[in-house]
């Protein structure tokens, strides 16, 4: 008898479950995606014990016919795909036909569904992959799937589950993400009896962001707006793999091989710095993914605006023709492949960078003051395991913190959200923000936060372009310039401001190949470690082009004969070691462009005026003017902010004049 056998479906389903159903959040993801694919407008998710005891998803989608409902639990049964051609252009979130049988094989599952075409609904009960019951039932439209006792028959998997809080946090962040991707739908997430997320349909993404994260976060965000870019594929010779796509295109009467990519969403101002990537949400065609290519595009957009170890808050929606994206990479569908990866990368990077430059957002004071906390509890749920541990030890910490905040009078320099009498004597009058246009769909119910308040839209955008007409008043601690502007008070860090000015100058000179170098009286001899020696060999050409004339000088020693004119001889050894350090650290794998920026940043930093330096009025004025002329006056090449703004409004507010 042969040794090789075909596995029974039961076993195959359990194996598939190992890939797809990792934890309660994966169940929620699969079911939520099914609901969305079914065209639901209202989705309710209930979980108990972090999803171990119960996960219930209720939607008002199209539902299933009786026969379909039975078939759905067969392996590779799906309504979303017909033949192999469809795989090239997957427009639905799911397509594998594996989720339901996989989930059913590791839990006790109850499916209740009714399609609009049938008068009665269907109730199916399955446990551990075995169908227990299938009966007619009186049900409303839509589908309810109840998953109880997840992994009850897979003890090994159950052991790997984290604490309830952690699992709950995963579920919460998942539902939050999908709610962001679908602002036109209602999402409700409850755990036990408490409501973690409840958002009602809104017309724009901005309103949804406000609903989920509150006004505080929204103020720190910049909207990308809709950006579109066309990709032209000139190659007329069609490789075989594209033949089908080509055929489809011809069928549609579309001769020109053009693909449009669209980006929309939000990104944070550079001063918002997160310690990890958990605040970066990328959606490709409505699907939440973690993609290294796009993450890299984002971090290079923020390069020189933010320290290397910090990450922005980003909510990015990338839309493209379905053919441009391959989602069939991994069963969990969190990865995608782009057919034109580098185009997508550059498009994302350039768009965000452009918007960062255009908006020149200025940081303002009191980032910590939580004005009228309006965010959803789900957005607050900490994501990291570490904070979860803390949370578990002191489960009431959150509620304890919350209570006094509401009770105590608020001491904050920031105007509280909510209607404020509009009284302002600054030159540009506040714009009246028209309310969101009434949406045609559904009657807009009043949600928990009331209407989207006009205040949450930052009135006249405070932009660093205003720097040019600032009047310097003086210095504090001979380190920070205080300046009066049209709208309030500014504090500018003189060192980083000068650093930014020099950085752009140095970059320009470098680009033009007009680097001024000063020869040294005596060559500076530097000792290198073996590692540095290797890095030196790698960057020697770039060093030379940047104005450092160096040459090897015996074993692990280099001689520096000339340096950029801006660098004083006394600082030379420090700056070179710094560059080598940068080269050996984060930039080892990075491009030449990044290395060049690193070198320029080091030169600028060393050449810039230091803090604790007295400046006369003319110098300060020059500095402000030069700063306003830079491309990017909001943060220094290492990512620190340059200017703080304290608006007239905040001053008035602090003095109780408004």
């Amino acid at each position: 008898m042969g040794r090789i056998r075909i596995l029974p479906d039961q076993v195959a389903n359990k194996i598939a479950a190992g890939e797809v159903v990792e934890r309660p959040a994966s169940v929620v993801k699969e079911l939520l995606e099914n609901s969305l694919d079914a065209g639901a407008t209202e989705i309710r998710v209930d979980v108990e014990a972090g999803g171990r005891r119960l996960i219930r998803i209720v939607d008002d989608g199209c539902g299933m016919l009786r026969d379909d409902a039975l078939l759905a639990f067969e392996r590779h049964a799906t309504s979303k795909l017909r033949d192999v051609k469809d795989l090239l252009s997957i427009a639905t979130l799911g397509f594998r036909g594996e989720a339901l049988p996989s989930i059913a094989s590791v839990s006790r599952l109850l499916l209740e569904t009714r399609s609009a075409e049938e008068t009665t609904g269907t109730r199916i009960e399955i446990a551990g992959g075995k169908m227990l019951r299938c009966e007619e039932a009186a049900l409303g439209g839509g589908t309810v799937i109840t998953v109880r006792d997840l992994f009850y028959n897979v003890p090994a998997r159950r052991k790997f589950l984290r604490t309830e809080q952690t699992e709950l946090a995963h579920v919460a962040s998942l539902v939050t993400h999908y709610s962001l991707a679908h602002p036109d739908k209602t999402f409700l997430l409850t755990s036990a009896a408490s409501e973690l997320l409840h958002v009602t349909p809104v017309a724009t993404l901005k309103e949804r962001v406000y609903q989920v994260f509150g006004s505080q976060v929204l103020e720190d965000l910049v909207e990308i707006g809709e950006r579109e870019k066309q990709l032209f594929i000139p190659a007329p010779s069609v490789p075989p793999s594209e033949a089908i796509a080509e055929y489809r295109r011809e069928e549609a009467g579309e001769q020109e091989p053009v693909h449009a990519f669209r980006i929309s969403g939000f990104f944070s101002r550079p001063q918002v710095q997160k310690a990890n990537r958990n605040s970066i949400f990328i959606f490709v065609n409505g699907r939440l993914i973690r993609d290294r290519l796009l993450l890299h595009a984002l971090s290079s957009a923020y390069h020189n605006l933010m320290p290397a170890s910090a990450y922005p808050f980003v909510l990015l929606f990338l839309e493209s023709d379905a053919e441009e994206v391959d989602v069939n990479v991994h069963p969990s569908k969190t990865e995608v492949r782009f057919r034109h990866g580098s185009f997508v990368h550059d498009f994302v990077r350039d768009t965000i960078r452009e918007r960062l430059m255009e908006s020149r957002p200025a940081p303002s004071f009191s980032p910590s003051a939580r004005a009228a906390s309006a965010e959803q509890p789900a957005a607050r749920l900490p994501y990291s395991e570490f904070s979860q541990m803390l949370e578990n030890e002191a489960p009431t910490a959150v509620s304890v913190m919350e209570q006094p905040e509401a009770a105590l009078p608020e001491f904050s320099l920031r105007p509280a959200a909510g209607p404020v009498p509009r009284l302002d004597f600054s030159a540009p009058p506040l714009e009246v923000t028209p309310g969101p246009p009434p949406s045609g769909k559904l009657s807009r119910r009043l949600d928990a936060h009331g209407e989207f308040p006009a205040e949450a839209v930052p009135a006249p955008e405070v932009s660093l372009s205003a720097l040019s007409d600032l009047r310097p008043l003086g210095q504090i601690h001979e380190s920070f310039i205080i300046a009066a502007g049209r709208d309030g008070l500014w504090i500018i860090d003189q060192h980083v401001a000068h650093e930014r000015i020099l950085f752009e100058q140095v970059m320009k000179q470098r680009a033009a190949g007009r680097v001024e170098t000063q020869r040294l009286l005596l060559p500076l001899i530097l000792q290198l470690t073996p590692e540095q020696q290797i890095d030196y060999a790698r960057i020697a050409d770039e060093l030379h082009a940047s104005g450092f004339e160096t040459e090897p000088f015996g074993n692990r020693t280099i001689a520096v004969k000339a340096a950029p004119a801006a660098v004083s001889a006394a600082e030379l050894d420090k700056i070179l070691y710094e560059i080598l350090e940068v080269a050996e650290g984060e930039l080892r794998n990075a491009s030449l462009d990044d290395l060049r920026r690193g070198i320029c940043a080091s030169i600028a930093c060393r050449a810039a005026i230091k803090i604790n330096t007295r400046l006369d009025a003319a110098k300060m004025e020059w500095l402000l003017r030069a700063l306003s002329a830079t491309d990017c006056p909001m943060s220094c090449p290492h990512g620190r902010p340059i200017a703080l703004h304290y608006s007239t409004r905040e001053v008035l507010k602090a003095f109780h004049r408004i």
Binding site: V515, E516, Q518, G547, A565, A569, E571
Partner: protein, 372 residues
């Protein structure tokens, strides 16, 4: 302690201490001046622990003793007093009472015990005419590095040899070297080398300004300090430690090319042209052509400028970049009317020297070129 002293003499000596007392009051006692009355003189001492000055003036001492008062306040007040005698008396609580004419004042002082003890002056090594010393300092100190990180360049090297006194200063881009003859600077049997901090050099120039034309500085040093006694005034400073660069390697041995220039002409030309040089690098291009020297500058934002001066130059055409500030520093430091600008090629150091008659000491200024 009680003594009476002439107002003008007290003001003059107190003024000398002002450059030494600490400006940032990190240690309060260091902003005080120590007054000591003994026999028929009152001695004033100030220090910031790096640098110390001790001077004295004649006084009628009624009761010997000592005390400290804030140096700046004392000078500001005494300066306003009418000409004549000032009587000073220290009270029990370290306060000093000052009486002059109809003015009666008491200044809060501090205990004398907390004032740092200054090192004793060792036997002198050499006698250097102060005017020579001052002129050597003014021709080198501008080349001292302003940066604090490269410690050894924060001062000038002072070498006393049988062949006379040598002073060298550099910041890594340029180097100023002066060597005086034994007749002008005095001589020693054994070579003595030390690094003098820039601040001490500035104070020495002040002492020299106030001294007579033939006065000499008694120069001495111990392991950590240098001492310059000028008349009844003593300046002491901590030495800088570390290795001074090997300046002899830097001084060019020979130059192929030389341009003779009128100092005022070239100086004004560079001053004008440098207005359009880059604000940080001060880079200008200097073109040596047969019979003339041309200077250029250009900046993308501001504009450009060009000027030419006549010169005795016969070598091949040569263009070299320089930091205008470095050239001007030299041109502003010398009294002579002519200079010679010596060169080799685009990458080698240029050397400037005063030219003309009546030059007894050797002054060489080496500037490294720029690539523009």
């Amino acid at each position: 302690m009680e003594f009476t002293v002439s107002k003008s003499e007290l003001v003059r000596e107190l003024s000398l201490s002002q450059g030494v007392v600490e400006k940032k009051t990190t240690i309060p006692i260091l902003s005080n001046v120590l007054l000591e009355a003994a026999e028929d003189r009152v001695t004033l001492t100030a220090t910031d622990l790096e640098l110390g000055i001790r001077c004295s003036c004649p006084a009628r001492v009624k009761k010997e003793g000592s005390g400290t008062v804030p140096a700046r306040k004392l000078l500001e007040f005494v300066r306003l007093l009418p000409e004549g005698d000032v009587n000073m008396k220290f009270l029990e609580n370290h306060w000093a009472s000052i009486t002059c004419g109809r003015s009666r004042t008491r200044i809060a002082g501090m205990s004398r015990e907390s004032f740092p003890e200054l090192p004793a002056t060792p036997e002198s090594i050499a006698e250097i005419p102060v005017k020579t010393l001052a002129s050597m300092i003014t021709r080198t100190s501008f080349a001292i590095s302003m940066e604090e990180s490269r410690f050894t360049l924060n001062g000038a090297l002072l070498v006393m040899r049988p062949e006379g006194l040598t002073m060298v200063a550099t910041d890594g881009h340029r180097l100023a070297f002066v060597q005086a003859t034994p007749e002008a600077s005095g001589t020693v049997d054994q070579q003595f080398r030390a690094l003098v901090p820039k601040k001490a050099m500035n104070e020495l120039v002040k002492l020299a300004d106030d001294a007579g034309p033939d006065e000499k500085a008694l120069f001495s040093g111990d392991e950590n300090h240098l001492f310059f006694q000028v008349g009844h005034r003593l300046l002491m400073t901590r030495k800088l430690t570390g290795n001074f660069p090997d300046y002899e390697r830097v001084l060019p041995k020979d130059h192929a090319l030389s341009a003779k220039l009128l100092k005022d002409e070239i100086k004004s030309a560079i001053e004008r042209v440098a207005q359009f040089a880059d604000e940080r690098s001060h880079a200008i291009r200097v073109q040596f052509l047969s019979g003339e020297v041309r200077i250029f500058s250009s900046s993308v934002e501001m504009g450009e400028s060009e000027e030419s001066v006549l010169s005795e130059y016969t070598g091949p055409d040569l263009e070299i970049g320089f930091n205008a500030q470095y050239l001007l520093d030299f041109l502003r430091a010398i009294p002579q009317d002519h200079i010679s600008f010596e060169l080799k090629d685009q990458k080698s150091a240029g050397e400037l020297r005063p030219a003309g008659e009546g030059i007894t000491d050797q002054y060489r200024y080496v500037v490294m070129p720029m690539r523009i």
